[in-house]
């Protein structure tokens, strides 16, 4: 198993390399001179020259890439063009709301989706199954911000259950924190849940057709035990996989949800940076998000060996 983990770790390196090359080339993909792009439309030629020298943009491209990678490897993502604050500090300032939102959404999604998927699979062909499938297709067809606004309209504007927008840190009290995070995490969780519910149902349906499930029923185990101990455990590999793959969806959703609910997190930071063409910040955040995606999917792959000992590598 350790050999597998090491092999899987090594396989991540070229993928991370591709991300790094893409992120680095962003600045050079933009039409025109990167130094002029950074300097903005009102810059004097002298300023452009200064920026070019400061950022080392006058050096050959492979040297620039090497230097940049060296910095990134040392945890230095450069400085923001506008605020001139190190990107790592900007990220650190904004990471808490995003982390809370993402974690809450994952919880909402799993708590919603797994029981729904299980119920649909057990009652396959009935109206319950049909209802869950409708939810799964519908959840995948609505943009997250539309769900967000519907929730705000229903629960904040009309009935004043939750604040309309904004984020309260958990340090300022658990209750206000929960109130501020509920609607955004439900909005984002619904979309994620649609994906997970669908896979849970499909995967469980496959397992329920196996002989050992019939055996378990035959030896007199209650349905609850058969489902949780025998079926769900064996159906878990595809479910965990989709939770991992869905992280990309979740990160994309975070970017939008934060704009809807006015949450000052990394999603807002990246949107603001894109609109302002603040390249070092964009590059830093993409590197970080992709890194998280790669690490989570690495963990998902490693978890297979624990979830299903039959899988050997």
């Amino acid at each position: 198993m350790w050999a597998y983990i090491v092999r899987r770790l090594l396989a991540t390196i070229p993928v991370a390399g591709v991300v790094a090359v893409f992120v680095f080339s962003l600045l050079h993909l933009a039409p025109g001179d990167p130094a002029a792009v950074i300097a903005g439309s009102y810059a004097m030629p002298k300023d452009v020259e200064q920026i070019r020298e400061k950022l080392g943009l006058d050096e050959p491209i492979y040297i620039q890439f090497g230097k940049w990678m060296w910095q990134v490897a040392h945890g230095d993502l450069g400085d923001s063009i506008f605020s001139e604050v190190p990107v790592t500090r900007l990220i650190a300032q904004r990471v808490e709301p995003t982390l809370c939102l993402a974690a809450a959404s994952i919880i909402v999604a799993i708590v919603m989706a797994v029981p729904m998927g299980v119920l649909a699979a057990c009652k396959a062909g009935t109206w319950i199954d049909y209802l869950v499938m409708v939810f799964a297709v519908l959840g995948f067809s609505v943009p997250v911000f539309v769900i967000g606004y519907v929730l705000i309209y229903g629960f904040s504007v009309h009935a004043h259950f939750f604040p309309v927008q904004g984020f309260v840190s958990i340090r300022e009290g658990v209750k206000p924190f929960l109130r501020s995070i509920t609607l955004p995490s439900v909005a984002l969780g619904v979309i994620y849940a649609a994906l997970i519910a669908r896979i849970t149902r499909a995967s469980l349906l496959d397992v329920l057709a196996e002989d050992y499930i019939r055996t378990a029923h035959a030896k007199g185990l209650s349905s609850g035990v058969v489902i949780t101990r025998h079926a769900l455990k064996n159906a878990s590999v595809p479910i965990v996989t989709i939770v991992g793959v869905g992280i990309a969806l979740l990160i994309g959703g975070v970017v939008v949800t934060e704009s809807v609910f006015n949450i000052p997190g990394l999603g807002r930071l990246v949107v603001d940076s894109v609109l302002a063409r603040d390249y070092p910040v964009i590059q830093g955040i993409i590197m970080m998000f992709s890194g998280i995606y790669l690490v989570i999917n690495l963990l998902v792959d490693i978890s297979y060996t624990f979830l299903d000992p039959r899988i050997q590598y």
Binding site: P14, V15, A16, G17, V18, V19, V21, F22, L26, L27, L29, A30, P31, V137, L138, F140, S141, V142, P143, V144, F145, V146, Y149, V150, I152, Y153, V157, V164, R198, A202, L205, D206, A248, L249, I251, G252, G253, V255, V256, S259, V270, V271, V274, L275, R277, I282, I285, I286, F289, S290, Y293, L294
Partner: protein, 297 residues
């Protein structure tokens, strides 16, 4: 006697062809209700948006006195902050959103097909191409798209290109997996052994086998492209704001959301209906083209 039989057969045949179109369609609809339902809603959407000039007024007409009007008999979906008719804007906006969906579906499918074919056939290029695809997949699609739009410039073509690039890896992976399965089939071995050239092999044996799954994948790409366009527009990093697309109309409604929720709700409903129809159509096509998969999902 023989004469008689053939006459009866001919009669039966002609009877069949006379009744065939409608009866066959009914039979098809009974077997694939999702395909027919999804396609019907999609066709209605396409017709509505194409017929926009005949069904609605000018989406750019300003009428500041009638700004932020509630939906009424006069303006069915209400008006926005400049007094523009949301109904007209929604219909015209559908043109842009559907064009983005179609443009992305076609270009991502074609590009993914080429990459998938190459990497399914050449072991040396496979490793390189798949690492690039994995790398692209590691960047969340929305983030990739907004960044690409930001570094190029906001235009319809660039938005289509940006969303397409984010969608290509999935298509390429699908095509590659199909090619890898097909090349092990006995009939491909047989074709190789009688000296079939590579071009003919692709056209005769490989391509036809990818068409079904590609069509299904194409519908999913279309659906997510329409959503992605809306998200990009909403964030303000999409098609130039003066062009009404569903995303852009909703983006303008953000500020007035508490006063005039209809600016977001009507285009949102149209968008959801469209994406839902396309997704349902895709599921139906998948079940129709590959009954084995249908059992699994």
């Amino acid at each position: 006697m023989a004469q008689q039989w053939s006459d009866i057969a001919a009669d039966g045949l002609s009877l069949k062809t006379r009744e065939a179109p409608l009866a066959r369609f009914r039979e098809f609809a009974r077997r694939n209700p999702t395909v027919v339902g999804g396609a019907a809603v999609l066709i209605v959407m396409v017709v509505l948006t194409l017929a926009a000039p005949y069904l609605s007024s000018n989406p750019f007409d300003l009428d500041p006195i009638r700004r932020l009007q509630v939906p009424s008999a006069e303006s069915w979906f209400g008006t926005d902050n400049l007094g523009r008719d949301i109904y007209s804007r929604t219909l015209y906006g559908g043109r842009i959103s559907l064009a983005v969906g179609l443009g992305v579906a076609v270009s991502a499918t074609l590009l993914g097909l080429v990459i998938g074919l190459i990497s399914g056939y050449s072991r040396s290029l496979d490793a390189v191409l798949m690492r690039i695809m994995d790398g692209l997949m590691a960047i969340p699609a929305i983030l990739l798209a907004i960044t690409l739009v930001a570094v190029t410039s906001a235009s319809l073509e660039n938005v289509i290109m940006a969303i397409a690039i984010a969608e290509v890896p999935r298509v390429a992976r699908l095509v590659r997996s199909i090619v890898l399965t097909i090349r092990e089939q006995p009939y491909v071995e047989a074709a190789v052994s009688i000296g079939t050239g590579l071009p003919k092999m692709f056209v005769r044996h490989i391509l036809p086998n990818t068409m079904g799954p590609l069509l299904v994948q194409g519908t999913y790409v279309f659906a997510s492209a329409v959503i992605d366009e809306a998200l990009l527009g909403f964030i303000g990093a999409g098609i130039p704001p003066e062009i009404p697309s569903w995303g852009n109309i909703m983006a303008e409604g953000r500020v007035y959301f508490q006063l005039a929720p209809w600016i977001i709700f009507f285009p949102g409903t149209f968008l959801t209906l469209t994406v839902l129809a396309v997704n349902v159509l895709g599921d139906g096509l998948r079940d129709m083209l590959d009954p084995r998969l249908a059992r699994q999902m």
